[in-house]
Amino acid sequence: MAEKKWMPRWFYQLASPRWCYEITGKLLPWFFAAAVVLLIGGAVWALLFAPADYQQGNSFRIIYLHVPSAILAQSAYMLMAVAGAVGLIWKMKVADMVLKSAAPIGASMAVLALATGAIWGKPTWGSWWVWDARLTSMLILFFLYLGVMALNSAIENESTAAQASAVLALVGLVNIPIIKYSVEWWNTLHQPATFKLTEKPAMPAEMWLPLLVMVIGFYCFFAVSLMQRLRNEIIWRERRTGWVRELLNKQ
């Protein structure tokens, strides 16, 4: 495997924890600044300047948190599973660490999506929880995250834990479309067409532009949090190596 280098060079550099630590150290402040600017700007735009929805009034403004967190919860799972696959195939330590670092962020995003969905549901549906297809799928996604995290913390050996979690994350990834489909199908079977939270015919630009800003801001935030956790993980796993010793002595 080592002889055949058929992936771009950065891919192999990424495999080096030290290189990864250094590059994330350089990227971190930029992403942090971008996340702060985008999230604050997006939130101000969303709360102050975006027009109120003609049906839902101002409770519509919750969309600017609900949708980005839901999108991020799903992308984070995807990233986690892909990192797991890379870790399994190329035995790449950094990928194992990415998997471990992405799980808690994704789970907290799922919690945020669920909570904002529930809070939004109260003025829209009149109850805190409705077994709506999207909310239910998000709840199951949250359970999948909990499973990966529980497995990862239950196994003591770090590389075994990472490999086992990777298998579970991949099984979950195969299952997500099936779960989504089955839940949507179950939903139409049991409920008359209700007022959907997020499905809007042709949202005007002054409504979706702040949403776009928030989504990009959430991605930047995710990158920041992921890099922070990844760097912690690198230091912990590489604590016996020379370069980490040097790093510790320097500080």
Partner: protein, 218 residues
């Protein structure tokens, strides 16, 4: 084939492994009239879901034992080293396990149907959906069992890992029974359950083998 036969013989010798999930299945179904309401009309309404949930939990309960004893006496390690392809060996083990639990649950399900006043039109739907759905439950559950076999306290963890993955089977299975009760055609539901089973048959043994190798290597 040899593995399959060996598994059967072993399972028969451990009678409690065969009987316990069945007793559990029966007990869970008993809890609902006691906990909710013994009124026949109401029970008939929830019966499809209750029987399916009970079958799902009973399968889950039996999963922990699937690789446990083989792991403890070291024969699992030999199995991994044996020249037979692991895919086949694993599949044989799961099939043997299913015959001991899923098939037994399917045969016992009409009794629970009777206890919960499931209309007799629903019985074929119940049996067929369980027959097609429980192998999927065994296959997916085996992934969880393989991932946790090296851990001392794997039992609760398996449930956490596997229950979310069981949801599609539960939805299609109990819907099939409901459709049968109301006299709607069953074909679509059974086709979906069959599709899930085909997918699980193709992919789950790969995941189980990978998970076993990971668990054993540590």
């Amino acid at each position: 084939m040899a593995t399959c036969r060996r598994e059967f013989l072993l399972s028969f010798r451990r009678k409690s492994d065969l009987v316990n999930p069945l007793i559990f299945f029966l007990m869970v179904a008993t809890l609902f009239p006691l906990g909710v309401s013994p009124e026949p009309g109401f029970l008939a309404q929830i019966a499809p879901g209750v029987v399916w949930v009970a079958a799902l939990l009973a399968t889950l309960l039996s999963m922990d034992a699937l690789f446990r004893s083989d792991y403890e006496d070291g024969s699992l390690e030999q199995l991994l080293l044996s020249p037979q392809p692991l895919f086949i060996v694993v599949l044989a083990k799961v099939v043997a396990h299913w015959m001991m639990t899923g098939l037994a649950l399917t045969i016992m399900a009409p009794l629970l149907g009777l206890m919960l006043f499931l209309p007799s039109e629903g019985m074929p739907g119940l049996m067929l959906s369980l027959l097609l759905g429980t192998p999927t439950l065994s296959l997916v559950g085996a992934i969880g069992a393989a991932l946790t076999v090296g851990l001392k306290k794997g039992g609760v963890l398996i449930s956490l890992l596997v229950l979310p993955l069981y949801i599609p089977v539960l939805i299609f299975g109990s819907s099939a029974v409901q459709a049968a009760v109301t006299g709607l055609p069953l074909g679509g539901y059974l086709a979906l359950l069959g599709a899930l089973l085909a997918l699980a048959l193709g992919l789950a043994p790969l995941a189980i083998s990978a998970a076993l190798r990971i668990s054993i290597s540590s």
